[in-house]
């Protein structure tokens, strides 16, 4: 009985981790998933609160997924941490893989309160920006602070690790496999043996679809964060879960309401195996007492007890369940200070004063957001940096920002056309964003969601500067925003900024390398306008009717 419960828990952990991986991996262009790929992120109450508070509205897709987790915790304590959380399972698996057992409970650092201080600081960064409102905020900028939740939220962290670290590695291997099979497929041997060619064809086709080289800058920072979390297991098992995780802190607090209790019978021989086995150090040196807010209901203690003295009951057992958080008021105030700093300091980094506003604000020329992205202030607050949008982008065009938007925009998605363009018929990034920092959008709307404007550098452009027969940018443009100007019998590209949405197809196709001769800049970014207003601007440009090569006559 007791062992079976542990087996059940392990099966649950593996099943949820598998579900996480499958949901993460399945989403692709033209592949429909019945379950939202961002389900785990939506189910995270911290992300739900952050997303809704920072955008000041109820997002039902978050509410419906987060409520079950809260209810589960109210009923069964931190069962989410022990049975569901893919971050916890990943840590368990890796600790098992590397044989990390932590230090003896008496020697392990006692830092369990830290996660509550972190939670307090993070909640402050969510709530304070939303509370402050000024006239200017009502229009363009909706918030003045910065939600720091992305930094330490486990779902965001793990999804980000999968997206920016694991995914490129997997794609590197599929790419290698694809290269190998391509080489074999073109060999004389295969050409001579029809059956072999026939057998290889589906594999080649499949790999051709799947194997797409993916590259993310800054992947190494994300990797180091995750590696640090794992490395802390040297001090204590699940160091992250017991000491740092803000979601664990929240669920532990909620789980105080749970009626579940561990009961230790008189048969206990004080062998201390349960104390040593407990992953989160919830059982102190007396096996008859444990901390309710720490217990993740993994029931390892039940399984290892040699005399089967531990059982699970509801209601009053003789066992002492200690539900105190034991927080220190001075420390809480310190945490609040750190929260305010985390919220404000990124905003006062190398800022510059914009002519149009009185506030210092960093704004990079290459800060090009995906279509559907909210206005910048609101976007950086709502974005939890989970990386889902970057993961699903079929052109690998969305990359984590580094300096483009200042520190506050660190690791948020930006479009880097030199890596890839925003493919016109794709709407994936808007469909996977859990907090709607990228609002869902349609293919039709993309023709007036202005991300930026392409500009031709006439000193680099080979048509302008060296009279070459090149209008690749005009060819590639999805929105007929580039026309040709006929000078001395040769067409030279010109951009109509009312039609150009800044998708970057021109920049990615431009044959001038390494510095392209046509570049998208954030200049034409119109996210501060509503979609209706943006559509009106597009309508002013009229129907596409130009293009040099008019029928029946030479261009010009």
């Amino acid at each position: 009985m007791s062992r079976r419960l542990r087996g059940l828990r392990r099966a649950s952990q593996l099943a949820f981790l598998a579900a996480f991986v499958v949901l993460f991996g399945l989403t692709a262009y033209l592949v429909a998933t019945p379950i939202p790929p961002d389900s785990f992120l939506r189910a995270d109450p911290l992300i739900a609160v952050s997303g809704m508070v920072s955008t000041r509205r109820v997002i039902w897709s978050l509410v419906w997924f987060a409520i079950p987790v809260v209810v589960l915790s109210l009923a069964l304590g931190r069962v989410f941490c022990g049975w569901v959380c893919p971050m916890g399972t990943s840590i368990d698996l890796i600790e098992r893989l590397f044989g990390m057992r932590g230090q003896r409970p008496s020697k392990a650092p006692q830092l369990r309160r830290v996660k509550f201080y972190i939670l307090a600081a993070l909640l402050l960064t969510i709530l304070l920006p939303a509370a402050r409102r000024s006239a200017a905020d009502l229009g363009m900028a909706q918030t003045v602070g910065l939600s720091a939740i992305y930094w330490l939220d486990p779902m965001a962290l793990l999804t980000r690790t999968f997206a920016l670290v694991a995914f490129p590695v997997v794609q590197w291997f599929t790419g290698m496999a694809n290269e190998g099979i391509t080489a074999v497929g073109y060999s004389d041997f295969v050409y001579r043996h029809e059956w072999l060619a026939r057998a290889m064809a589906p594999v080649q086709t499949g790999l051709g679809v799947v194997a797409r080289p993916v590259y993310f800058r800054l992947g190494v920072f994300t990797f180091l964060t995750f590696a640090a979390i794992i490395a802390l297991g040297r001090f204590a098992r699940r160091f992250w879960c017991r000491n740092l995780c803000p979601l664990g802190a929240l669920l532990g607090f909620v789980g105080k309401a749970s009626p579940l209790r561990l009961a230790v019978s008189e048969a206990c021989t004080r062998c201390m195996r349960c104390v040593n086995e407990c992953k989160v150090g919830a059982i102190s040196d007396d096996p008859h007492a444990y901390r309710g807010v720490e217990c993740i209901e993994c029931y390892s203690c039940v399984a290892v007890c040699p005399v089967n003295a531990i059982s699970i009951t509801t209601g009053r057992a003789q066992t002492h369940r200690d539900d105190r958080l034991g927080l220190d008021r001075r420390r809480l105030l310190q945490a609040a200070g750190v929260g305010v700093a985390a919220m404000v300091l990124p905003k006062v980094d190398w800022g510059q004063r914009l002519a149009a506003s009185s506030t210092a604000k960093f704004s990079g020329a290459k800060l090009i957001r995906p279509p559907g992205a909210r206005a910048e202030e609101s976007f950086v607050t709502a974005c939890v940096r989970c990386g889902e949008c970057m993961r699903v982008c079929p052109e690998n065009a969305l990359q984590p920002a580094f300096g483009e938007g200042g520190l506050e925009a660190l690791e948020t998605p930006i479009l880097v056309p030199q890596v890839g363009p925003c493919a016109q018929p794709c709407t994936l990034c808007g469909s996977v964003c859990p907090t709607r920092a990228i609002e869902p959008f349609t293919v039709e709307e993309k023709s007036h969601l202005y991300l930026g404007t392409a500009m031709v550098d006439r000193s680099l452009c080979i048509a302008w500067a060296s009279d070459k027969q090149c209008l690749v940018c005009q060819e590639a443009c999805s929105y007929t925003a580039i026309s040709q100007k006929e000078i001395e019998g040769l067409g030279r590209p010109v951009v109509d900024e009312r039609m150009c949405v800044g998708c970057g197809l021109c920049e990615s196709a431009c044959p001038v390398v390494p510095q392209r001769a046509i570049n998208v800049y954030a200049t034409g970014d119109k996210r501060h306008l509503s979609r209706g207003e943006q559509a009106a601007i597009r309508r002013q440009a009229g129907e596409p009717n130009r293009g040099g090569a008019e029928a029946g006559k030479a261009p010009g």
């Binding site: 262009y29 033209l30 694809n178 290269e179 391509t182 080489a183 073109y186 050409y191 029809e194 060619a197 064809a201 086709t205 051709g208 679809v209 194997a211 079929p394 052109e395 493919a423 016109q424 018929p425 794709c426 080979i462 070459k468 027969q469 090149c470 209008l471 690749v472 005009q474 060819e475 590639a476 443009c477 999805s478 007929t480 040709q484 067409g491 197809l505 196709a509 044959p511 001038v512 596409p544 009717n545 130009r546 293009g547 040099g548 090569a549 008019e550 029928a551 029946g552 006559k553 030479a554 261009p555």
Partner: protein, 304 residues
């Protein structure tokens, strides 16, 4: 003049044969224009039918697909599937035309039919939206997106005036029969895009062509060395403005043109877009290099 023309052509054919030997047997097998009889080139122009019937009529007028595809051959069809556009927008080859060509090759006994392009838009989107992937697969072809460099091999072009070497798609190089299957569109850089311009889609480093001394010459150089066995031009719909991607004005000539002489097909195709063949740089240069006929009065047109 005419005699000179023919003798030059013969000379070049021998040069091509020598080149073939240099590359090893089979390497250029799919690019063989020598099947053409002496005298003025013949092209077939089919009209007033459904797309599939247009293809049948045009190919039958040239003697049927058996003239070009032998049993056991590997056939490579190069449509234009570069853009994430719908068939009605006339940016890609008509999917019904592609499917019918695949069926004809299969019926002629082809061992394998490959439909290949190197899309400029996101390939999955282009293949899906153009309808070509579904239509070609249903007809029994293997659809290949040539989007990694390992699918290309470097080839020297000894006769090239500007284009001396290119990374050419391997399936294209190794096929027994290459059928070029362009759609007729206007084009920003080259005024029109027809057969020879469509072959730019089998080249990896095509961006360099724009930077070279002359894009038109590169197209002509490539066409001079790689001559498909058959060119079938889809002019069921034509794109008349904002080419090559559109959206623009779509014409509906309802025509399919087929021919062995790639320059003759292109020359006739230019007229469907209301251009004169001699106004198009790459057609003029291809003609000048002796690979085909562009003078309309010397092309035999079979209307069917």
């Amino acid at each position: 003049m005419t005699r000179e023309e023919i003798s030059r052509r013969d000379f070049l054919r021998r040069a091509a044969a020598a080149g073939l030997a240099a590359y090893g047997m089979g390497e250029l097998a799919g690019m063989d224009g020598a099947a053409e009889a002496a005298g003025p080139p013949t092209i077939a122009v089919a009209s007033k039918k459904s797309p599939a019937q247009l293809v049948q009529a045009a190919v039958n007028a040239l003697g049927g697909m058996k003239q070009f595809v032998k049993p056991g051959n590997i056939v490579l069809i190069k449509p234009n599937a570069a853009w994430a556009r719908m068939p009605e927008q006339a940016a890609n080859t008509n999917p019904e035309v592609v499917a019918e060509v695949v069926r004809l090759c299969k019926a002629a006994g082809a061992r394998e039919v490959k439909v290949m392009d190197h899309a400029i838009d996101l390939d999955t989107a282009a293949f899906k939206m153009s309808g070509i992937q579904e239509a070609a697969q249903k007809a029994g072809a293997r659809v290949i997106s040539a989007r990694t460099q390992s699918m290309y091999q470097q080839v020297k072009l000894p006769r090239g005036k500007v284009l001396k070497s290119a990374d050419v798609q391997r399936d294209f190089m190794r096929a027994n029969v290459v059928i070029n299957l362009p759609i007729a569109k206007v084009h920003g850089s080259t005024k029109v895009t027809l057969g020879s311009k469509n072959l730019m889609g089998v080249v990896w480093d095509r961006g360099w062509w724009h930077q070279s001394a002359s894009l038109d010459q590169c197209i002509a150089d490539f066409a001079a060395q790689f001559r498909p066995k058959l060119t079938i031009l889809d002019a069921v719909r034509t794109l008349l403005t904002n080419g090559p991607k559109g959206p623009g004005k779509v014409g509906t000539p309802g025509v399919v043109v087929a021919g062995v002489d790639p320059v003759a097909v292109d020359a006739y195709g230019a007229t469907l877009l209301h251009f004169k063949p001699e106004d198009i740089g790459h057609i003029r240069l291809a003609f000048a290099s002796g690979i085909g006929e562009m003078r309309l009065d010397r092309i035999k047109v079979k209307n069917v």
